[in-house]
Each structure stands twice: as C-alpha cells, then as structure tokens.
Amino acid sequence: MGIFHSIPHTNWHFYLALALTLVAGIAMLVILQLLPSQWRRPMIALVTFLGGLYYFAEFFIPVPHGHEGNFLSKYMDSVANIASVIGSFSIGLGIISLIGVHFRTALRQREGWGFSTVLLGAFAAMTAFTLLNEYAPHRTVVPRTGALHSPITNGDIYGVLFNGGLASLDSAMFALIGFFIISASYRAFRIRSVEASMLMVSAVIVMLGQVTLGSWLTGWLPRTGAASAFRFENMSEYILVHLNSPAQRAVTFGLALGALATSLRLWLSLERGLYFDQEQ
C-alpha cells in the first residue's frame, strides 16, 4: 500500500496507528448507521458506481503514447489485493449458517444429531490440521510405538483428511451422476419428434467420435480422401466445428448483450427486485 507510509512493528507508533485506524473505521460504521435512512439507498448506489468506475475509467481513458497503461493502471494490483482481502472476509457467511444449523441440531439432539456431530467434528479437524500442516507439518501427534513403524505427524493426518477424506468423497459425490445418466438415458430419452431425432443423432455421432470405439468402428475407412469424412471422429469434429460452433456463437451473442445490459443496470443501480428494494 505505497501511498501510506509503513511503520516497523517494533515501533510503538505502529500499534498506535493500528488502534487509531481501527477506531476510525468503526467510527465510520457508527456514523453511517446514524445517517438518515433516506440517504442509504443513494449511498449504496454511489458505492456501487464508484466500484465500477475504476475499471470503466481505466479501460476507456486513452493510454499515452509510449506507455503501457494510463495513470489508473498502476493501481490495479492494489485494487485486486484489496478486493481479494475484503472478499475473503465473506467466507464466514456460509460457514456461520451451516455450522449454526448443525450446532443447534446437535445441541438439542434433534433428529439426525449424530450426523450433525460428525459434521462439526470433521469441520474442526479439517480446519485444525490444515492450519497445523501449514505451521508445523512435521510435529509429531502420535509417537512411534510398537504397532506404529513411524510417528504420525500433523502432515500425515492432514494427508489422510485431504486426500483420503475430502478429495475422495468430493469425487465420489460427483461420480454418482454417472449412474443416474444411465438410468435417465434409458428411461427418459424418447425420440418423439424431429428435434429429438436430430438431438439424438448428433449426440450419438459426437459420443462415438470422442471415444476409441468410434475410431474402431470406422477405422476401416481411409484416413484421407472423401470417404474419411464418414469416420466417426471426423463427423464428430465436423458437427462440433461447423454445426455446433455457429449455434453456440449465436447463443453467446444473445447472452453477451444480456450480460452487458444487466451489468450496466447493476452498475448504475437501476435494477429492481426483492434484494434491491428491501426496506432500509
């Protein structure tokens, strides 16, 4: 933060500056709360506008000849860092909700409280051992005994929780969909119309073009020449490049214009709806 002169933390001025700045920050919040309520929506709109103004101005203000950016460009890394740090504070929002619900369930022994206890225990263990792995990965947790050939360290437990627990369970959760795709394809995919037929034909060609089975089925066709167009991998590539691509591009144009319009409305606080019209 180049514009504010840093003070070595060994100097008592540092702690004074910290304390005064923190008090000033909290005082700012108190003052904001005390302001008339009809000022709130304009203030939110102003902050939203200022938030977008920096990047808008940085993009549109011309770059002087011989330079790589204008006078705003040099602050991009600072803006990125500030946004990252402040944004990180929001991690607590989801955690408070999740932990709060399960903590209450466990405490009052409601239905499923055993599972809630497991969740809370896993949360505490993962947090603790991720931090311990960062700060003291080689510290022994369980010393070497007769049954253990080597001591168990913080890093070992973290490895079990991350690789054996989190990564494996996360993979398994998403792998479940593979089963449901099979039953959905069998039970729900019915060819009832021209559009459904087109969809199915296109899907089958793309599917077979993506796997070795398709290459094997049409492997007898020559790799070059007119007949090669009927190899599954070539048909699949043709569909993706020449038929799928323009359709996707058209959809993208529509989405892009919508996103631009919505972003402009958000930036200028023109959006209406439940969130934006809440009682102040």
């Binding site: 933060m1 504010f4 840093s6 070595p8 910290l18 700045t21 919040l29 203030m43 902050v47 506008f49 200022l50 938030g51 977008g52 103004l53 990047y55 993009f59 946004a83 990252s84 740090v85 402040i86 944004g87 990180s88 504070f89 929002l93 399960h102 599972f115 969740l119 896993a122 949360f123 993962m126 947090t127 991720t130 931090l131 079990v160 627990g165 369970l169 996360d170 398994a172 959760m173 479940l176 449901f180 795709i181 394809s185 559009e195 969809l199 296109s202 899907a203 793309v206 993506q210 796997v211 799928n244 323009p246 359709a247 591009r249 058209a250 959809v251 144009f253 631009l260 930036w267 969130y275």
Partner: protein, 222 residues
C-alpha cells in the same frame, strides 16, 4: 505375502477413501445411514478446508503479513469493511451488507465493457466469412465456401430464433426461427454427448481408484 497387502489395504488414506466412495455409491441402491454419515463428513471437511485455506493462502499472505510483518498499518481498515458483510444477519445493519455487496457488483460490472470488447468483437469479426470466390474454384475452396455458407445460415437462423425484440409474425421469420430451433438441437446433442463423457469419466475414475489403487487387482491377475 498377505501382510504387506493387508497393510496396503488398511492404509488410512486409501481405506477412508475406499469406504467413503462405497458409502456414497450405496445411495444409488437405497438411501441409507452410511451414505448420510459420509455426506455429513464430506460437508464438514469441505467447510473446514475452505476456511483454513482462506486464511493460509489469502488473508495471511495478502493481509496479515503485510500489516503485521511489513508494518502496513492501513490494512486494519479491512476489518470494519469485512464486518459489513455480517450485517446481513441483523435487520438493523442489513443495509450495510448491501453496500459492500454493491461494491463488488460494481467492481464486476466495471470489467464487463473491456470483457465485451475483447471477447465478443473478435467473435463478430470472425462471423464475416468469405462466401464467394473468384473462379476457378478448387475442390478445397468449394468445401471451405460451402462450410462458410452453412456457418452463416445456422448463425442467422439461431439469432433470429432468439430475437424477442419484435413479434415474429412473418411466415419467413417464423420458418427461419423454426429452422434455428432444429439447428440448436444439433448443438444440444453435441453438448449432451459431451456431458456424458464428463459424468462417466468421473465414475470410471472412482472405480479405477477402488480396483487399481486400493484393491490392486491388477497385481493378482497379471
């Protein structure tokens, strides 16, 4: 012979992963308590990991160390700003959380202009493909021109299908939009075919873990 294999099977990292995978997969046969146990375990692990890594990889490196170690005292202001998020839990201070969220909406919105120019202008430019060529036209050129015509027709048909700015009353526009819908089905078929690869690949990877990494079946068969 058995002991090293048994030792491998019971390795905590592998055993937890294998039992967890089987427990999660048991859901496809029936909802059961083992699945729910591992589901809650997963949620707890994921939440804890997210919290810890936010500290170790973001807050500590970009906020705490610059503030405390390098003496950049101004970073303390992040605390009251960050606390504004938590106003959402109270009716009295909820408006403050909308202010900080508004800042982030603004930051994201401000980048959209550059993103639109950089991302979509080349797309528009690339859509103007050559449709004619001076004769004599070679076999290869004919193929390229034919593909360019197909590209343009599909692009226009699908764009017209998505145009809601005016009523599509004219029979020409209606038929073009209907053709656009059919062409969209081809794109959706391609997406469907691709979706299956992802979903099945994830499942195959888990089965591979169970059979090859954990049970090491290949050592017994070969």
């Amino acid at each position: 012979m058995m002991a090293p294999y048994l030792h491998h099977l019971l390795m905590p990292k592998l055993l937890l992963g294998a039992v967890g995978t089987i427990a999660i997969f048991s859901l496809v046969f029936r909802e059961n308590k083992l699945y729910r146990l591992f589901e809650h375990l997963f949620l707890g692990l994921a939440t804890g990991y997210g919290l810890a890594t936010t500290w170790t990889q973001v807050l500590r490196t970009k906020w705490w160390d610059p503030m405390v170690v390098q003496g950049e005292w101004i970073w303390i202001l992040v605390i009251p700003l960050g606390l504004m998020f938590y106003g959402v839990y109270t009716k009295k201070y909820a408006w403050m959380s909308r202010m900080i969220f508004g800042l982030y909406f603004g930051l994201a919105a401000g980048t959209v202009f550059q993103a639109f120019a950089s991302e979509y202008v080349p797309q528009i430019r690339a859509s103007f493909k050559p449709l004619f060529s001076a004769p004599p036209i070679s076999h290869h050129q004919f193929g390229v021109l034919a593909n360019n015509w197909i590209f343009l027709i599909i692009l226009m048909c699908v764009l017209i299908y998505f145009l809601f700015a005016f009523e599509q009353n004219s029979p020409v526009v209606k038929r073009t939009a209907a053709a656009g819908r059919v062409m969209l089905m081809i794109a959706f078929g391609a997406i469907f075919g691709s979706t299956i690869m992802t979903r099945e690949a994830l499942l195959i990877d888990r089965v591979r873990f169970l059979l090859l990494d954990w049970l090491q079946i290949n050592h017994f068969l070969h």
